[in-house]
Symmetry: C2
Subunit: 340 residues, 2 copies
Amino acid sequence: MNLKQLSHMLALSQTTVSRALNGYPEVNEETRRRVIDAAKRHGYRPNPSARRLATGKTGMIGYVLPTGTAVDIDPHFVEFLSGLGDYARSHELDLVLSPADADDQETTYRRIVANRQVDAVYISSPRPADRRVALVSTLGIPFIVHGRSEGLDFDYPFTDIDNEGAFHEAARLLIQLGHRRLALINGDDRETFAIHRERGVRRALAASGLALGEDHVCSLAMTEENGYRAARRLLEQSDAPTAITCSSLIMALGVVRAVRDLGLTIPGDLSLIAHDDVFPWLKPENFSVPLSTTRSSIRLAGARVAERLAARISGLEVGARGEVWPVDLVVRGSVAGAPA
Amino acid sequence: MNLKQLSHMLALSQTTVSRALNGYPEVNEETRRRVIDAAKRHGYRPNPSARRLATGKTGMIGYVLPTGTAVDIDPHFVEFLSGLGDYARSHELDLVLSPADADDQETTYRRIVANRQVDAVYISSPRPADRRVALVSTLGIPFIVHGRSEGLDFDYPFTDIDNEGAFHEAARLLIQLGHRRLALINGDDRETFAIHRERGVRRALAASGLALGEDHVCSLAMTEENGYRAARRLLEQSDAPTAITCSSLIMALGVVRAVRDLGLTIPGDLSLIAHDDVFPWLKPENFSVPLSTTRSSIRLAGARVAERLAARISGLEVGARGEVWPVDLVVRGSVAGAPA
DNA sequence: CGAAAAGACCAAAGCGCTTTGGAAGACTCT
DNA sequence: AGAGTCTTCCAAAGCGCTTTGGTCTTTTCG
C-alpha cells in the first residue's frame, strides 16, 4: 500500500493525503480524519527510503564504531546503549553503527554526512583536541559529545559527568581519613575523562600540601588484569600507597586480587575507592569488602544523549550548551583511616 | 556531485555512467575506464538513499534490540559486535540497531522488513520455538541465527557453538576426577544455550549412572551477584556439590567469592569450570585460582555471522545450513580430584 | 456588493539512482 | 549487397515520497 494507491482509493490527490498525514494546516479537518482513518485501516506506512530521498531526513542517529582485531569495544558501551536505545525507541529512532578503521574514522564520518545517512551523530570517549569533534562540527551535522574534549577553540554540545569533582571528593575523603600516600589507577590517559580524574586527585592532594607521586599513578586499559598489575606495582614499592582511587570497577577486581595475593587486607592495609558506571552484572556492594564508589549511571547518560540528539534533530535544541552531571560518592566498607 | 552532473561532464548518458560504474558488460572498456577515472577524480559517490529507492538494497544489516528500563543488554553483545563490526567494515556494511519493546519485537521486525530498512537481520539469544525465527523466516528476509532454536518445524541457517558438547566434556572431566555431586549454575534456562548446557551435564552424569539433582541446578541472569547466591545456596545444603559447572565468567566471580566467604577453597573443596566467551577485560587465567573453562570466542562468532549475512545478501549462500562450532576445554588450576 | 483574503485541494516537478526497451553503427555471413 | 548480430550507447520510465506553484471556491470586510 503506497501513497498513490491510498490517495486513489480516497479520491484525493497524493498531495492532500501526504499533507493530511504530516499535519500540514492547509487541509480540512474532516478530510484529515478520513485520510488518517483510511491510512490506519489499510496499514499504510510511508516508505522511508522514498521519504528520505525527498526530505533528507532518515530517522536514524549514527555512531562511528572503531573496529579492528586489536580494538576492543568498551564494555561500558552496552550500558550506554541500553539507555540510548530505550529513549530512541520511544521516539522511533534507529541507531546505525558504522564500523570504521580505528585509525581512520574521518573517512567514515565524512561518508555518513555526505550520504545523509543519519540525522545526527554522537561521539564518545573524546580526547583533548579531539579531531572528531572538530570534524563533525565543521561538517555541520547535529551532534552531542558524550564526555568532553579540551583545548578546542570553539564550543560544542556535550553531556559529561564531573569526573574531576568525583575524584577530588574521593581523594579528599581519603586524606581526611589520614591517608598521605594516595595512588590512582586510571584508564587510558589519552582520554579526557582520565585526565580529569587525575586532576581531581591532584587538586585534593595539593589542598593539603600533598602530591601525587609519578610512580603512584597508572594509566592503562581498564581490564581486570591491568588493575591487578597496577596494584602489584604500587603496593610492592617502598613507599606504597595506603589508599587507591581507581577508575573502574573491573580494574578494582584486579586490585582486590592483588591485595589478597600480597597478604594484605582492605581496608586495614589499603583503602579503595573506584568509579562505578552502574553495571547490572557487577555491583560494588557485592565485593568481598563492599566497595566505596563514585557512582554515575552511564545508562542514564545514554538516555540523555539520545534525548538531546532528538531535540537537536527537531530543532528544539540549538547552541553549544555543555552539561556536567554531579557524581555521587558512596562510602562503603573499603575505606578506613590510614594504618598507623 | 551526482550522477547527472558526472554524466553531463563526460558527455555520456546517466545510463552508461551508471552501468560503467556498476560493472555491467554492455559498456566499452575504454569508456568504463574514463568513467571510473572521472568518478574517482571528482569523488563521486552514488547517493545511497536514491540507490536504495531504486534497487531496494540498503547496504545495512539489522538487529532488533530489546530495550526497556528493566531490560539489560547482555555484556556479551559488545564482544559479538566487535567481531561483527570488524567484518562489516571490510564489506562496507553498516549495522542498524532498531530498539524494540522487549515484549513486542514482532512489530519492529515487521516494520524493518516492510520498510526494507535492511538487507538482512540476525537474531541472537534464541529460545526454543523462537517466534522471531519463525517470523523472520516467513517475512522472507535473509537472516542468520546466532545460537539455535529448537522445536521449529522448518530448517533455518544458524551459527552456534556446541554448548551441549562443551558442558558434557566439562562434566565428564569432573566425573573422571571422582566427583559424584555436580552442580550447574546456568544462565536463563528459557534460552536454548542454557538448555543445551544442562543437557550436556546430564548426559555426562547419566553415562556414569549419576544424575543432576533438582537442587543442584540454578538458572539465573548471568550476574556476579547471582553467581554468588547460587553458589551459597548450593554449598550450604547438606549434600553440597564438590564440583560446579558455570555458564559464565561473571557468575564465576560470584562463585569464587561465595567459596571464600564460606571458608572453603578451590580446588580443595570445590572444583569449578566455567564457560568463557573470551572477554579482553576478564580472563580466566587471572582468577585467584586459574579457572578451567570451556572456551569459545564470541567475537569470532560475530565475524562469522557477519560473513554469512553478507554471503546471503549477495546470494552466495542459500539454504538452511546450521553450523556448530566445537568448544575447547581448557584445564587450569580450579579442578582437582574430589575431596575424600 | 465587489475586491481581497483565506481555505481546500491538485498537477506536476523534483529527490538521484537503476533499468527497460530501443536505436545507431560496425561487423559477419551468405 | 542485404540480412542478421554484436557492440555500444541513450531516452525515458520508474522507485514513493514531499513540496512548489497554482486553481477554484468560500468567506470576510470596507
